[in-house]
Symmetry: C2
Subunit: 356 residues, 2 copies
Amino acid sequence: MKQAIQEKKSNKKRIVLSIDAMGGDLGPPAVVAGVARSASKNPNLHFILHGNQDILNRLISRRKRLNDCVEVVSATDIINMSDKPSQVVRSGKNSSMWSALEHVKNGEADVCVSCGNTGALMAMSMIRLRKLEGINRPAIAVLWPSRSKVGFNIVLDVGADIKAEANDLLQYALMGVSYARNGLNIKNPKVGLLNVGTEEHKGRVELHKAYELIEHNCDNSSFSFVGFVEGGDITSNKVDVIVTDGFTGNIALKTGEGTASLIGNLLKEAFAYTPLSRLASILAVTSLRRLQKRIDPRRVNGGVFLGLNGTVVKSHGSADSTGVAAAIKLAVQLAENNFSEKIAARVASVKTIKQN
Amino acid sequence: MKQAIQEKKSNKKRIVLSIDAMGGDLGPPAVVAGVARSASKNPNLHFILHGNQDILNRLISRRKRLNDCVEVVSATDIINMSDKPSQVVRSGKNSSMWSALEHVKNGEADVCVSCGNTGALMAMSMIRLRKLEGINRPAIAVLWPSRSKVGFNIVLDVGADIKAEANDLLQYALMGVSYARNGLNIKNPKVGLLNVGTEEHKGRVELHKAYELIEHNCDNSSFSFVGFVEGGDITSNKVDVIVTDGFTGNIALKTGEGTASLIGNLLKEAFAYTPLSRLASILAVTSLRRLQKRIDPRRVNGGVFLGLNGTVVKSHGSADSTGVAAAIKLAVQLAENNFSEKIAARVASVKTIKQN
């Protein structure tokens, strides 16, 4: 393990990923398959898999390329998707999730990846990694398919906390800016605050306060503030980072996913309707695959927990090997960019501004 | 006018619509075109158009079928899309919007239709029509394309108010039930409360209180309560009426519209990519039109204002003649079902239950 950390300092940076291998609807086979995909694409990765040793060793032994780059850490308990966060922080100490976070806390890994229960993962992350200095409420940020150049916008918070005060929203803005730089390579991100209208008089009181705070801090950091944005702007190219409270963000995220899924189903039905439309669907199959690839939630998989001492990537619970590999890819990019340190510096810089 | 109301009592009910003809992005031509479409389909309609007499008379004179069923009421002012609600309630007394509402208040029309500024229309409606007895916060309800049998679910509030207490959410549930019956002919609607998870411990305090209130009233009314639902359920068939506060509902609505619009654009791009995909798109044109028709916002046009003494249908600001005709069709169905009286009875019945 120590060796892995030392090798990071060599020319070609080695990234160590701590992976909760028991989480997710599809369980260890999907996780190990995702790890195998990632390992075959990037030889600089080292994986620490946490969970049932027998199961994991059996799955790993079937894939030769994993022999050199994977180690297994035994954890007897599994956090279920229905477990309450308040319970697992007390009783989850022997779980694969806890063990995976512990390795990031101890510096044995650069980043943690889990497809497990989001609420439990956030609660454990807060206890093990602790909140970043200056952060009141950590946030979950997701990549959202959009018309922007890079193809995605960042939305946060999508469900770490159901509330957010004005100052929390400012912190979300700054953390989102850091994520846009290090996760999407956007130099000067455009930040918008989600509201029911773009006019300054609209919306809740805390949003008006947050507007002022973000605007004030905008001069001192390298991002631009586009002001209030509406739900329809989440997919637009007028903004890169959309800031909102976790209740609203969660509803928006799931509404967007639900709408996309409904349209996908209706599209299939429409093409199955007549012989001519069935023929068309055969001819159109590559076009439709192209579209699907563009908006496939598996490819934008990986909510990132922001505002902790360490990076945690939460993969979708239903992630298959493609989804797990996408989450790992994101985790690697953030680790390569020393994301944890950069976000800490950004949050700290704002504290200084506020004290002036 | 009196004659129109009297004729309602005859065998074939005559519906009188009071129409704000100056609102909307496309102005009077789109409104009059929509009125003409509606008039040609339903000979029992009588229209009172409010706005600039010269413009309206000129537009009407071009369409012979409107001679017998349309009258124009002069109103000199126009409410703009950017006007603040607080201002227009003071200065808007000579506007087409005010005049259109006035005719519903006076009993000269059954229902009001406008494509104007939503905030202004709601503020004026509350002043002119007053809130229904027992209602604290009126709501805007929309039809949302879904997997349900009728093809739509009802979501409310989508923006009448940015806040909602537990009791408001109960009232939204009951008004939504009445709308589902009279607008969508659903006998025993399933009601869900929008939250960030379906587990009972999740979400904000007012949602837990609302959960209890709705559950308590459910035994006494003829609807079923499915409990908490998530953003992804808005398009599902597990629920007919989705209840939420106006802030969340507005963001969800616009996020859904934005997602649908993004997918539509990406679909076009995907089909324009190669010669083969362009050929496929020609063959698939009827399939795609079928899909578009299913989710076209113009066809589900018409948010309904609930909780007032009178029915107001708010058409989309960007509505063209198809959109205006869809809003009129919905208004007619509600008027035919004596919706205003039924919703008042439902709200009143609950007051009694609560007093017990």
